[in-house]
C-alpha cells in the first residue's frame, strides 16, 4: 500500500516552507513526521499533489522557558516532549501524555504540532493543550497570529488554520493549580483512545467525546461550586456529542467519560 503520486518538496526554512505552500495552494500539504498524514494518504483519505517536507526544520524543534510560559516548537517529537526535563517539571501532564501517544516508533517520528493540526478527535494531545489553556502560534503569508487552543479545533481533521498557514509554536502558561492526570481507555496499547480525559487542577478536557476535544464545562462548574470529585465527574458527559463506532456506542462513551474523569480527578488531587 503506497500513497497516490505526489511531488515531494523539501523546505530548508520556515520562509521557504511558506513560499512553497503559497505556490502549491490547496493541492499542497505540509509533511512533518508523517505519522498521521502518510497513513491517510495510503488510504486515499488525503490525496495532496504536493508534499512540502518541513521535517528538517530544526528551528521548530525546542522546549524553552519564555516570559511566564513554556514554548514548545511545533516540530518537537512526542519522544522529545516526553523526555524534556523542563516539561517534566513544569508541565508533567503534557510530558506524560506525549509518552502515551502510539508506541515508541511513532513517538520517534510524530510531532506535537502535527498531531494538533491533524485534529483527530481521538488524538490525545489536542485535549491536553486544551486543558492547559495553550496558545498556538501560526505563521502565514500575511504574518504571524496567535490562536487560543479553545478556538483552534473546528471538527474532524479540521482546524482554523488557513491553507498555507504553518503552526510553529505552542505556548503554555504555568498551570494555576498543580495536580494532573491523563486517563486513556483503549482496547490495545497502541489504539486511539475510545475515550480519554486530561485533568489539570480543576480543569478537565475530554478526548473523543465529540468532533473536537472538549472542555468538560459541567464538571468544572461543579468543582467550582464545591462539589466533590466523584459528584462532579457525574456531569462528565453533559454537553458532549460522542461518535458511535465499532468500539463504542454513545452510552458506553458517556459512561467511560464519567469513569475516566472520576479517576482523573482523584489522581490529580493525589498529586496536588
Amino acid at each position: 500500500m503506497i500513497p497516490a503520486p505526489f511531488t515531494y518538496q523539501r523546505a530548508g526554512s520556515v520562509d521557504e516552507a511558506l513560499s512553497l505552500a503559497a505556490e502549491g495552494g490547496d493541492d499542497a500539504k505540509f509533511l512533518a513526521g508523517g505519522h498521521s498524514l502518510l497513513p491517510l494518504m495510503k488510504l486515499r483519505l488525503a490525496v495532496p499533489e504536493v508534499l512540502i517536507d518541513i521535517g528538517r526544520l530544526s528551528e521548530l524543534s525546542y522546549v524553552r522557558e519564555e516570559n511566564g510560559h513554556i514554548a514548545v516548537g511545533a516540530l518537537t517529537t512526542h519522544h522529545d516532549v516526553a523526555n524534556s526535563g523542563l516539561l517534566g517539571s513544569e508541565l508533567p501532564l503534557l510530558a506524560h501524555a506525549a509518552g502515551q501517544v502510539g508506541d515508541p516508533q511513532i513517538r520517534h517520528r510524530g510531532t506535537l504540532g502535527g498531531s494538533l493540526v491533524h485534529s483527530d478527535p481521538a488524538g490525545d494531545l489536542p485535549a491536553v493543550i486544551l486543558v492547559l489553556d495553550a496558545t498556538l502560534v501560526a505563521r502565514g503569508p500575511s504574518g504571524s497570529r496567535e490562536i487560543p487552543a479553545g478556538e483552534f479545533f473546528e471538527g474532524l481533521f479540521e482546524t482554523v488554520l488557513e491553507p498555507g498557514e504553518l503552526l510553529t509554536e505552542i505556548r503554555i502558561p504555568r498551570p494555576a493549580q498543580a495536580g494532573w492526570s491523563f486517563q486513556k481507555f483503549t482496547k490495545r496499547a497502541i489504539d486511539w483512545a475510545i475515550v480519554g480525559a486530561a485533568v489539570q487542577g480543576d480543569q478537565v478536557a475530554l478526548v473523543h467525546m465529540g468532533s473536537t476535544p472538549l472542555r468538560a464545562s459541567a464538571v468544572e462548574q461543579a468543582l467550582a461550586g464545591g462539589a466533590a470529585p466523584a459528584d462532579a465527574a457525574a456531569h462528565a458527559a453533559e454537553g458532549t456529542s460522542p461518535p458511535e463506532d465499532i468500539n463504542a456506542d454513545r452510552e458506553y462513551r458517556e459512561h467511560l467519560a464519567r469513569v475516566l474523569v472520576a479517576r482523573g480527578l482523584t489522581e490529580a488531587r493525589s498529586r496536588a
Binding site: 503520486p5 509533511l31 502518510l38 516508533q105 511513532i106 517520528r109
Partner: protein, 155 residues
C-alpha cells in the same frame, strides 16, 4: 527524485518515485529483504528499522525523508566477522521467536529500547515493545530475550 542514504554503513543511491516508502527502498532498491512488511498501517512493527539510531516503522516513512540519513536494518547488526549482535544472541538463546516474521522488527525495536533504557524492568520491556506485534503471541520468550540482552550488559 534522487535519494542517497547510508544503509548499514554503505552508501545507497537511487532515483526513485517521490512516493517510495523507506521499507520498499530497503527491500527493492538496497536488496535488504529481512525487513518485513506486515500490516502496512504503522501498527505491527515488523518493518521497524533504526533511522539515525532511533526505531521507526519504515512503512510510514518516505525514502525521501531518510535522504542523507543513516539507516540500520537487522542485516547490519552482526559485526564484520559475522558474529551476531548481543540482542540477536539473546533472541537465539531464549528462543525469542516462533515463526520469525516479527523478529527483525522486534530485534530492531529492542536495540533502540536498550539504547534509551539499558536496564529496563520487565514492565518497561513490555511497554517498550508495545509497537511490535507477534502473530504467534510468543511474547514471553521475547521479553525474556530482551531482559537477557540487558542483563548481558554488552549492548
Amino acid at each position: 527524485m534522487k535519494v542517497s542514504m547510508t544503509v548499514n554503513g554503505a552508501a545507497v543511491d537511487a532515483e526513485v518515485p517521490d512516493r517510495t516508502l523507506l521499507v520498499h527502498f530497503l527491500r527493492d532498491v538496497a536488496g535488504l529483504t529481512a525487513t518485513n512488511v506486515g500490516c502496512d498501517t504503522t501498527s505491527c512493527g515488523a518493518c521497524t528499522v533504526l533511522l539515525d539510531g532511533q526505531s521507526v516503522k519504515s512503512c510510514t516513512v518516505l525514502a525521501a525523508q531518510a535522504d542523507g540519513h543513516q539507516v540500520t536494518t537487522v542485516e547490519g547488526l552482526a559485526n564484520g566477522d559475522g558474529e551476531m549482535h548481543p540482542v540477536q544472541r539473546a533472541f537465539h538463546a531464549e528462543h525469542g521467536l516462533q515463526c520469525g516474521f516479527c523478529t527483525p522488527g522486534m530485534v530492531m525495536a529492542t536495540v533502540s529500547l536498550l539504547a534509551e533504557n539499558p536496564r529496563p524492568t520487565e514492565e518497561e520491556v513490555r511497554t517498550g515493545l508495545e509497537g511490535n506485534l507477534c502473530r504467534c503471541t510468543g511474547y514471553h520468550n521475547i521479553v525474556r530475550a530482551v531482559l537477557a540482552a540487558a542483563e548481558g550488559g554488552d549492548i
